[in-house]
């Protein structure tokens, strides 16, 4: 009977359940072996320091002298410290200005270069150069542009007879100056990501949309955009994370000044830890930064379902 036989019939290619389980066990052991080095690295260089920082953040931890347990006092101090509040504001301002500008500039240029125009590859290399050159060298050049008597100031004076603003010495101008420099320095990476995504959009679909009467903007909105949303999601997530961690540009361009108007969260951590040797407060500020980045990245991942199309 079919029913009697069905228990013993094995479809071709299938593996008995017992062997399957055994096989998985064998695979799992090898998987652990292969994962081992990177897991060990993660544990040693990421998880352990993160947990250690959380521990240190609960202490008054001067580099020399007595360590005292404080509980949450470092966090309370940060909450009430006007400089730390300003630092959070500065970092948010940088993110709010930098991320959209970076995406707009890189996407705009990538779209502009996406038709197969002459010299396209040369432009791609050209736009990527600022990403490859050392940040310190870039910042030094921009400082010569921005400082009083610098290129912008001297240019404004000789052309219009007026002085340019003191970009790096004015509380109103210093942050926009840092954002401008950062966008110039950083857009090349996203530009490459977007260029690659745009190259993947099938020409046939764009052509058929054009035949159906779709204009340039409509083709971009309804054909190109949905297809490049995964790249845009990737680019915005990564840019957002790195912009919360901004350090080198304000550190070299303004040292966080004038006052604390361009001091960012990572600079605050660096100053507290390595300049003022106050490891407890530095660790607490580091954890605040970690929680902010984790929170915003989580929101982005949950929100992506609404606008990112992986299946087109």
């Amino acid at each position: 009977m079919a029913t009697a036989n069905s228990t013993t019939v094995v479809p071709p290619g299938a593996v008995p359940a017992a062997r399957r389980r055994h096989g998985r066990r064998g695979d799992s052991r090898y998987a652990w072996i292969f994962l081992g080095p990177s897991l060990a690295g993660l544990a040693l260089f990421t998880l352990f320091p993160t947990a250690m920082a959380l521990g240190i953040s609960l202490f008054d931890w001067p580099v020399f002298g007595q360590r005292t347990f404080l509980g949450a006092d470092n966090y309370t101090h940060l909450l009430h410290d006007p400089i730390f509040r300003r630092v959070i504001l500065n970092t948010s301002l940088f993110v709010v200005l930098y991320v959209p500008l970076n995406v707009i500039v890189s996407l705009g240029l990538a779209v502009w270069l996406s038709p197969r125009i002459r010299g396209r590859q040369a432009f791609r290399v050209l736009f990527f150069i600022p990403v490859m050159t050392p940040m310190v060298a870039n910042v030094m050049v921009w400082r010569l542009l921005f400082q009083p008597g610098g290129l912008l100031d001297a240019g404004a004076e000789s052309l219009f007879g007026v002085h340019a603003p003191n970009f790096l010495g004015s509380s109103n101008w210093a942050m926009p100056a840092i954002v401008a420099m950062s966008v110039w320095q950083g857009f090349g990476y996203n530009f490459l990501v977007f260029s690659a995504a745009l190259d993947q959009v099938p020409q046939s679909q764009l052509d058929s949309a054009a035949i159906d009467g779709a204009g340039l903007l409509q083709r971009f909105r309804y054909v190109t955009w949905p297809m490049i949303t995964p790249s845009i999601f990737f680019a915005t997530t990564m840019t957002l994370i790195t912009s919360f961690q901004v350090f080198a540009q304000p550190f070299i361009l303004t040292q966080g000044g004038p006052g604390v108007t361009t001091q960012t969260l990572v600079m605050y951590v660096y100053n507290q830890g390595w300049q003022f040797l106050n490891m407890g407060l530095a660790s607490a500020a580091g954890w605040v930064l970690f929680v902010i980045i984790m929170g915003i990245t989580a929101v982005q991942f949950f929100g992506q379902k609404r606008w990112v199309h992986y299946d087109v």
């Binding site: 799992s28 040693l44 020399f64 009083p148 008597g149 210093a174 303004t254 040292q255 006052g259 003022f276």
Partner: protein, 421 residues
């Protein structure tokens, strides 16, 4: 859970634990601090700030002097850039693994003095007299009355000026005893055609001598920051007014520690305040003739601060006698004269000054430095000075650019740095 899974998990836990233990012990290890030996026989390590391979070679020669004087002692130089140096020795001193010999700057001494050995007993034992060195810098390297480091360089803050521009403007060159009013009159005349008579910086070493000469006020009272005292505020206001009211100096950018030097060497500003340690390097960057003059005299005469650096011994050093003998050799006449001749430091020993004057070849240098040194005091700092200095740089820019009134800038520095001790 079956046996294989348990075994593999156990294996994983053991592996991760072994790695973490290995990592922890690696963190606990470190270089330096391992010196052993006796007073006359030891291999010592010396942590110091160096600017590059050429600098490293010049300072290694200083270290070699110890071996020449004491064949049993060798000193190995470990260099770090100025920016990285302070965090590096901070961690080394904290871990008890610091090398025996530590480079120390007078302004930062108060922050690190707990981790360094007082040298008074060793000075008495080896018959080293404080009087062999410039007094202001010997005092500047003391903490709570105890000598913490022996200086290799020193120097009062002085006015650097562009002799060519003074000549072109038909101005007499500044002489010891010149007054603040004479300084302002000269700077006003030199402020013309997009160029300025003077350039300011928010940095402590260049701004505080102005406060001192204008009102006599010092940043510390009883070892604590006293920046909101009326006389200090008045003096600081006087400094800010050079930009805001007198308009003899340009606005300043934030975070640019070399702005004053670049403005001065480019001929855009005719005067600046700096220390003698910068004279020879500034001279090398200028196309004009360089002169130096003491700080202009305020109501109570010319006043300035002396700063400098020296070498101390870490408390964890097992051979302090050998380290001290090495330091004595390294701050002796011969290496100091060699450093001076190479343009690296204005020597802390008056007997080595001659070599520096010959190498610098600056108009009026001897007269100026002798006068300025006699009219200077050490800039005594508090334990939180690194923080105070950082805040001076930040809020000083806002004060000099007119974004924040001088008294508010000082109050912010005072409040944020804490009273200190």
């Amino acid at each position: 859970m079956n046996g294989t899974q348990v075994r593999s998990r156990r294996w994983l836990i053991v592996a991760v634990a072994a790695l973490m233990v290995g990592g922890l012990s690696a963190c606990g290890g470190g270089s330096g601090g391992d010196q052993s030996g006796s007073a006359d026989k030891a291999d010592l390590t010396w942590q110091f700030w160096v600017g590059g391979t050429e600098d490293q070679a010049a300072w290694q020669k200083v270290a070699d002097q110890a071996h020449t004087d004491h064949p049993g002692i060798t000193v190995k130089l470990q260099g770090a850039s100025w920016e990285n140096y302070w965090s590096k020795i901070g961690t080394l001193l904290a871990s008890g693994k610091a090398p025996c010999i530590i480079g120390m700057q007078s302004l930062r001494l108060a922050s690190y003095s707990n981790a360094l050995l007082p040298l008074d007993d060793l000075m008495a034992k080896y018959n080293i007299l404080a009087g062999e060195f410039d007094k202001p810098i010997m005092d500047g390297l003391k903490a709570d009355g105890k000598q913490i480091a022996i200086p290799y360089d020193s120097g009062p803050m002085v006015v650097f000026y562009n002799r060519d521009r003074f000549k072109q403007a038909g101005l007499a060159e500044p002489k010891p005893g010149w007054t603040v009013d004479e300084f302002k009159a000269a700077a006003k005349k030199l402020t013309t055609g997009g160029r300025f008579g003077f350039v300011t910086t928010p940095g402590d070493l260049s701004s505080l001598p102005w406060v001192l000469t204008l009102t006599g006020a010092q940043p510390l009272a009883d070892g604590k920051l006293a920046l909101t005292a009326p006389s200090f505020v008045q003096g600081y206001q006087g400094y800010v007014d050079l930009v805001r009211k007198d308009k003899i100096a340009p606005p300043v950018p934030a975070g640019s520690t070399d702005f004053q030097t670049t403005q001065f060497t480019a001929g855009k500003a005719a005067m600046m305040v700096d220390g003698p340690w910068s004279v020879i390097s500034v001279k090398g960057q200028t196309k004009f003739s360089l002169g130096i003059a003491p700080m202009p005299a305020g109501p109570d005469g010319s006043k300035s601060y002396t700063a400098g650096s020296g070498f101390g011994i870490s408390r964890s050093c097992k051979t302090p006698d050998a380290a001290f003998q090495a330091i004595v050799s390294m701050t002796n006449q011969k290496p100091l004269a060699a450093l001076a001749a190479a343009g690296r430091a204005y020597p802390s020993r008056p007997t080595a000054h001659e070599a520096w004057f010959t190498a610098a070849d600056i108009h009026g240098a001897r007269e100026t430095l002798d006068y300025a040194s006699a009219h200077s005091v050490p800039l005594v700092t508090s334990r939180n000075w690194v923080q105070a200095s950082d805040l001076f740089n930040r809020f000083g820019v806002q004060a000099l650019n007119g974004e924040l009134p001088a008294d508010q800038a000082l109050k912010t520095v005072q409040d944020q740095a804490g009273a200190g001790s």
